[in-house]
Symmetry: C2
Amino acid sequence: MSNKAKVTIEDVAEKAGVGIATVSRAINNSSGISGKTKAKVLQAIEELGFIPSIAAQSLKIRKTNQIALAVPDIRNAFVPEIAWSVEQAAKQHGYRVVNINTSGIGRIEIETIRDVKKLHVDGLIILPLAYPQNFVELVNKSPVPISVINYGKKLTPDIKADVVCLSQQEGRMAMEHLISIGRTRIAYAGAPRDIIEERYNAYVNSLSHVDVSLVYFGEDFSLNTGAKAADYFKSLKNMPDAVYAGNDMVAIGLINRFKEIGVRVPEDVAVCGIDNNIYTTITSPQISSVSIMGVEVSRLATELLLKRIRDNATGVYERVQFEPRLIVRESSVKMKRSTTYLE
Amino acid sequence: MSNKAKVTIEDVAEKAGVGIATVSRAINNSSGISGKTKAKVLQAIEELGFIPSIAAQSLKIRKTNQIALAVPDIRNAFVPEIAWSVEQAAKQHGYRVVNINTSGIGRIEIETIRDVKKLHVDGLIILPLAYPQNFVELVNKSPVPISVINYGKKLTPDIKADVVCLSQQEGRMAMEHLISIGRTRIAYAGAPRDIIEERYNAYVNSLSHVDVSLVYFGEDFSLNTGAKAADYFKSLKNMPDAVYAGNDMVAIGLINRFKEIGVRVPEDVAVCGIDNNIYTTITSPQISSVSIMGVEVSRLATELLLKRIRDNATGVYERVQFEPRLIVRESSVKMKRSTTYLE
DNA sequence: TAATCAACTGGAAACGATTCCATGAAAAAG
DNA sequence: CTTTTTCATGGAATCGTTTCCAGTTGATTA
């Protein structure tokens, strides 16, 4: 770590034999500067290794070129690709990303929005989990633009933020897939829970008749629930020929356990999960799943936020829905390559 | 998004009937201010909803309260917990974290270090992958302190950065574990590769005699290599009774394939991986592995960096080694709970 | 009571950029 | 060859803090 004294715009100006205003024009390549002078200044900048003080710029132009990304927990399976996607999109536009983990705790989600100014950012992308009471209210009084990545609750239309979400077709797509491959006794494994109960509803709605013996409600959407569901289904006289898992963790638990107790996937039972999280490709068989389009959703959320920042706009907030996408893998359709992995 | 005019320190001063210097003292609770005045000021701050301009503070005190974290790719299995750990540690000290993905590309690692000033941070934590030629040189001329999370090359001792790494005992620990549970025909699966060839060396050094038929070198450290290794080992007249996998991805590929071809893990073959990445717990059986201590390593790297920033120190750079830790799971030792998952 | 001293306090000068505005030179128009 | 217009240019003000330094006040001491 070396420590030369800071080179300022004034040093550059002196070296180039021009005024500081001119140097500024060269840096920001604004108009009103001749090509010749500009070259001279750029030359001086190069020689001195001058880098403008971002603090000073920020103070003056009231922009930080930073956005914040608040997610529940970067360690959650579906989050890293979102963080990655946001960072890529932001970088393209010259923005840096400050990462915040809210732990899905309402209090922290609240603080993040309320004290967004303390983050020194021009905007905020938030993926809420807790959806605290006053969520919309806080968003609406935020001093900086906000984009919401909404995988949870329906948000009231009066929210002053761009919202990117999924059309709630994940469940239907998974079910249609299982039906389309000729399965007739399709089971459900998951948990009842308000935020994503749509996934169970989709199950019910996709069937003309629900056989309640084929519904397994565990406590949560975990590996464990999947494993227990597998045991349960195996114990039935009349086993299902397919399982629609409420999410991928359940699907993984299910498949692992099925393999242990001699149920073949997909021959005996086809399995389809939801989320298309990163784990779906490391299991064997790899798991068919419905993608929640994390990369696309978060990229758009970023683009919308940056656009709003750039335009300094406050009107006409966007609300975009992505279609989930079915990714067929080995857990529902027998494939040739069952031993080796692609990529 | 609302837009009141910015409340400045002057507004506060006026409201509280004091000078701006006094307000500043109250904010930073510096000395030289009476309790009474301070209360008055704090009251005014509260009423006006004043939040100091970070840009102005940064400009004046030459600190940003931000650090950057440069990792290869947040989507890599072992990275999220590092990012999480860094963020937690930083937050405790009032620092924000700017995340950078280098993609493990040397050019980007170089740029990140060289242009660290453009990141508007007080320090940098970098987890290099490419280790470009001039890595040390660039680090040494960085204008801000750097901490290196070093899972790769040995770094020359003249590097002007705190370095946190692992004692290179991962391989030995995995091998000792397999030996200690009574396995005698221990195989190796992985790839030859300079950075972590130590892992293969550990294999050789842990054995009095190396049976070359038990060494499988694939092209990389991937699931695929693991799957192919499984096929290879199965094809042997005299199968190994344990496999030491060069990393967890190989171990996963190995185990998945073993299950498919009727080799029981751990009964027939015990498997131990390295990295203790997050996938090890979602497979069945869960995988025994040697932890590279990502959380601890990165937390310390963060603490050291912040300490150096705070002390404005340039001398006596730390070089800390962590001991890897063996995590025994189901792939090496038969356990009761093979169906359900803990946590 | 006067002198000394400590503790508060506020004005003003930074910090390092951007940008308005006035100025001068050069180019275009008459 | 003037007069007008255009274009570059630099000086100075400004962004919102922190902090030096000098001044005020009230308490302590002789």
